[in-house]
Symmetry: D2
Subunit: 260 residues, 4 copies
């Protein structure tokens, strides 16, 4: 059983009538329901408004894959929580970054780039082309997915070269976008998926829901958590794999920790 956790900013659902109508229980609830259609996934939710944004250490420890949707309130996410989540990704938790979360603190920290793009909210048509139909995330989808009303996200999308480009979007208004890409950071697998503007019922669309389920399965790393991945252990001279004797000058006394 893969333990997924859907994090929702949960703001526009309460302040914008159009959004509230499409997602009466919040976007996170709709996304979690999509995941539960896979009997091998158990999906829970967390929101910005909960203590520690619903992401205390213990909960992250018991999460295999985190999905992140945020837009208006990126700045309200506490740095300490961002750092905690980033550490858990490094340790092996999968991460699925959705739509406007391209500008979340979390994604920008994991990418090390601006993660900027162009945008237009015109309700235009989007066609997502599948670049690699053999990838686990693209299973059960045809050659392309059409979304009748979408927000345009256009290149340049300033992210590092991905492990793989899986989807590229064509927009009615004339732009293109690498709408599905993967990376790895530490032991954690990351998938960015562009569709999901809150004023359109995109997370109710069957192919999008299928991709979310596929992505959770792909991002799940069953390896034991990589504890201590951020540590820099000293290997004492006496423990070198090959016999060694200390030579030359040194900064550190035996057993001393390194600098950080």
């Amino acid at each position: 059983m893969i333990r997924a956790l859907v994090w929702g900013e949960n703001v526009h659902e309460h302040s914008n009538a159009a959004v509230a109508k499409i997602y009466p229980d919040g976007m996170h609830a709709t996304i979690a329901a999509a995941l539960r259609d896979d009997a091998g996934i158990e999906a829970d939710t967390a929101t910005l408004q909960e203590p520690e944004h619903g992401l205390p250490e213990a909960r992250l420890k018991n999460t295999d894959v985190l999905l992140w949707w945020g837009h208006k309130a990126h700045g309200d996410v506490a740095d300490a929580v961002v750092e905690r989540v980033q550490n858990r990704v490094w340790g092996g938790m999968g991460l699925i970054v959705l739509h406007s979360a391209h500008f979340s603190k979390l994604f920008k920290r994991l990418m090390g780039t601006p993660c900027s793009l162009k945008w237009r909210e015109a309700g235009e048509r989007e066609r997502i082309w599948v670049v690699d139909r053999s990838h686990p995330i693209a299973q059960g989808i045809g050659d392309a997915i059409e979304i009748p009303h979408t927000e345009m996200y256009g290149e340049p999308f300033t992210v590092p070269e991905p492990m793989q480009t899986l989807f590229i979007t064509w927009y009615e208004g004339g732009e293109v976008f690498r709408s599905g890409m993967t990376w790895q950071r530490g032991a954690g697998r990351i998938f960015y998926f562009a569709p999901g503007h809150e004023t359109y019922p995109i997370y109710h669309q069957p192919e999008i829901r299928q991709i979310l389920r596929n992505a959770v399965r792909w991002a799940h790393n069953p390896a034991p958590a990589w504890h201590g991945i951020a540590e820099a252990p000293n290997v004492p001279v006496g423990n070198a794999p090959e016999g060694l004797t200390q030579k030359g000058e040194r900064l550190h006394a035996d057993g001393e920790a390194g600098y950080r």
Copy 2:
């Protein structure tokens, strides 16, 4: 003329007699001198102790390639300066990260990973193998470089998969390390180069100095600075490349900025 700037932490040179003897004017001065052996490079220095660590906005603007050596005082580098340098790298400034700067705030932010490794200060022998002899950074070097006394840095080195692995090191004590790798972040080219422990005269070694010069030339991006790379510009409906009319619901009024 490529404008290089060598940033040195400049701490151990004043607190450790062995380091002071090898680098009486500071490691940054020795590195800058190595760069000046290339008539096409002008090299200046900056240190932690200067106001704004010697890295005010105007100076970064006039820097093509920054070299960064830090070890004991990573935590003393102001976050605002780190952010400023990261932005300049995104805009196109090359960055050469040296030795213990693997744990600098700057490198960790640009990589999005822990950047951890194993280490041992035993003065052992290191042999750096050239993986791609055709790369600009490897020119004028033979098949391998021997460093008689070095600090061991061992795998796993928790960085993202590089654009290219250029050098891999063999250590007398039995470990290996990807000692030269490249990445790109925004418009900025990044090279990490492992050798350079302060208690050994590594930056006086001719092949190492050659690699530093080569790296400055490689990291120099002559393209105009990518201003606004971190911005997310709105494309109004009327400016869409293909004729569009507004459809469906929307969050943003015309001309409104996006959320960050």
Copy 3:
């Protein structure tokens, strides 16, 4: 059940007494037995000497992952069989390339590079360091594997930059080697694994056998075979996703095939 097929050149086992003693039933038999220790893998064998080298179309179609060991007789493998196997890899069959098969026609065709390296047959010690312990292929292995007697394979190993570098080897004689790397070609996942010189009992070593089993599971792509991946289908004007009318000059009449 994953259907693995171990292809062995099966030459030295019959011509060299040392090899025959270590692998009395052939190296392919030993490797297949290692795979069968995983109850989810069924493993069969094929050899150079069989008709079509034991790799007729129908058998490849029913193979999920192919393992390839060859050395002395690369030139004896028929080009038609190489092409057939390459096509099946593109369609989704996993491929594990072992030791001296770095110079097989198959691997060179899939990489598009010379796949050359340095070598020395001195029976020296090898230590394989795990670069990414979170990868499926590295599960159940510690930080490193020691092989007491091995053939040295040294950098530069002229392959394309991999999807991931998983293992790097340290040799007693002073060289290093990227001894485990992954790539994808079409729908097929490829893993190269360096150990396996025939005069040493390397495929009897438990950690090596574990890696082979892990690699079979990783290389298995459960997606439907990508039939027609090498075709270039025409999309008639009338079938364009967006309404189009024919404009300008053209080379091809309606329904005509493209050039190859």
Copy 4:
């Protein structure tokens, strides 16, 4: 001075009136003229019809960057010439693969994949978006290039993940394509550039010509040719960097060549 050589198939220019009208001296001549607008490039041409297709060993040796345009006659290119060119790319010659040459023997050999795509010859509009404006190949170009009449090349384009995706195309008919990508094979830098269907005057368009010049400069590797890159040299025990004594069984006598 960079020595560029433009190879043209030179068939349609003589058999199709529309093509002959646009390219009266052959497409190769038009492309070479575009390159000569850069005073640092000298450009020559070669065609399929010449002896050895105009690509004898000596000429390749004196070529820094080769541009390849082919379409109808891929099968007429002699395998021996393809192999020769591939070897020269490995040794360091840059290669620019144009339009329908995606299906050339040469490109398929260097990629190791089918290099297939979808296509439609409808004279529709194409907009090439620049993904990385800081790349040398994208200099002097704005955010996008419009080609009024083009052949559609659609995803999936079955090539290996590139070093970088530089351009992505939007088509009027609804498809997308990664129209500019880079790879490295051995010491050779490779750029694929999609535009260039022979029935439209695409190589007369200023921005396209600028990209070709930029690409020649980028693909030029000034490093000495990597002779012997396809060889696998033996390192005798006595020449090991670290002192070694022969141990265990061996296949090869001293000084014996390895198997290929």
